[in-house]
Symmetry: C2
Subunit: 326 residues, 2 copies
């Protein structure tokens, strides 16, 4: 059996209360007793039972992290960073891949509640999950509107869309398309498209918006892209994520379009993976380090003080990563 607080007490030759006091550094304690107790704890490999502790009203120090799928490198990097920051602050992450399935997301919420998590960081793509409002739990959202009192952290999508389009334009493109996912009302991600449209309009150019269904497999998406690129002779394409940009570059090669002479491409996200292994790609980098730091710090503020007032929206600046594709 696993050692319990009482076993430690017996071995150290002190009372259970004293052991608890040592663990929680509560009340008067001589360094000798502390040492005795610590020694006993080490000897037994004792670990206080977190379940029992949190029954007293102590925090569980568990945080639910809901994203659509960490096998997407963008979410992989983001979640990895969030986990690292939380671990350093002695919090643990319960990982939830919602797979863009609203029902799954609801189930996850239930589960997180049942596990008494102290808070949630949510960045999946399903909207209209009313459940988020019901639980009076600290929640911070990434790049997505959940409900009025849930703060949103996002990169400056509008600015990013503008910047990307400007880059394409200044690289010589005049017939510029955007490849984006289905737009959801209220999703900050729409900002990328708005920035794109705003820039083009300001330049008296016509926007060409292509919505690629999010759930397409990459192979199907590539076919779709090929069709589009064959039908239209774009000389600049802004992809609202880097993976799509890779597909576009792929298709460009298939169609023998030279990049960036005949076709200019700009992506979005700028993960470490892309920067390291596709430095040729010009892209708009989301400040993942800042985003994850901010997500965590806001969440912890809410956890420590449920009534602390937070902004409803935090927008972090993006940066252009210059490759050779635009």
């Amino acid at each position: 059996m696993k050692p319990k607080l009482n076993d430690v007490a017996k071995l150290a030759g002190v009372s259970a209360t004293t052991v608890s006091r040592v663990i929680n550094n509560h009340g008067y304690l001589s360094s000798q007793t502390k040492e005795k107790v610590f020694a006993a704890m080490r000897e037994l490999h004792y670990q206080p039972n977190n379940m029992a502790r949190s029954l007293q009203g102590k925090n569980t120090r568990l945080i639910g992290v809901i994203f659509s799928d960490i096998s997407n490198p963008f979410f992989g990097e983001l979640v990895s960073r969030i986990e690292k920051i939380l671990f350093a602050k002695n919090y643990k992450v319960i990982l939830c891949n919602s797979a863009d399935d609203p029902q799954k997301e609801r189930d996850y919420l239930q589960m997180l509640m049942a596990n008494q998590v102290d808070g949630i960081i949510a960045g999946a793509h399903n909207l209209g999950i009313e459940e988020y409002q019901q639980y009076g739990l600290p929640i911070i959202s990434f790049d997505r509107y959940l409900s009025d009192n849930i703060p949103i952290v996002s990169s400056d999508n509008y600015q990013g869309g503008w910047l990307a389009t400007q880059t394409l334009h200044q690289a010589g493109a005049t017939n510029v398309a955007i490849f984006t996912g289905k737009s959801h009302a209220g999703s900050p991600t729409n900002g990328r498209r708005e920035g794109y449209e705003a820039y083009l309009t300001a330049q008296q150019l016509t926007p060409h918006v292509h919505e690629l269904p999010f759930e397409l497999t990459p192979a199907l998406k590539m076919m779709e892209i090929k069709t589009i690129m064959t039908q239209h002779q774009y000389d600049g394409i802004f992809c609202s994520d880097d993976l799509t940009a890779l597909l576009v570059l792929n298709v460009a090669q298939q169609l023998s379009l030279t990049v960036p002479d005949q076709l200019r491409v700009v992506g979005y996200d700028g993960t470490a993976l892309i920067r390291d292994y596709h430095s040729e790609l010009t892209t708009v980098e989301q400040p993942l380090a800042d985003i994850s730091t901010l997500l965590v710090s806001l969440l912890l503020q809410r956890i420590e003080d449920a009534n602390c007032t937070l902004e409803s929206k935090y927008t972090l600046p993006v940066k252009l990563i210059k490759g050779i594709t635009a």
Copy 2:
């Protein structure tokens, strides 16, 4: 305050015991009472407190999943799959990025113990963590020796190394190098190198082993690769992971080496990401679906019956994914 079992009982007009019985489907229950109770639970959005439940000796249904870093697409995909399978079986994942830091890995183990996880799936790269043996906890390892009674699941690294090298050879390469990470004693990953060496030896060819320190940044690794490729005129390179293969292809381009005529390249892993976005790369695919299914199924067997006898090693066959780089 969060609703408790008693609140549900009051609202449903039954005793607390009955509510508990309904939840646990224990003893005689009429469908009317069940319905009443369920209705009350719904109305209050009641979620039984998992902390309190597991104090009774009930399982926490928490699984610790330790990998070096999910921002690596290989681990990202693997963990994502593991999480999905576990969620379907009503288990939750506590995510641990050990960052290849032994101390962090020890801390994680402690933390997982404190949180009463039912089991652990470990696939980090640190060896010699004695702690794994101390806890009498169900553990399954991926591709890594932990201790005698901890089963290892891995792809057939030896076969994969052989296959990769054979592919390079049959594509016309005779001066074949391997780029691999530092070899750790007891790590099944060494099998890739052994398969490589065995094949070459069988063909009376000389192995050329280059160990690239695992912790190098991609940029530094690329420089290192460039140096090596300039000094030696290899016509075939087997990379023990796909990301390194991408770097090699990159360097090949910088050095104006045509692929696959002057240089043939084979990678290892074959994640969805690589297959989807780098179909040009010839690589050895690890059966991630089977690996994750097996990892979970073995772990659950151990959890259900601590004494069930498992093999000490499960080796799953690999598959060559034919691209155009070899």
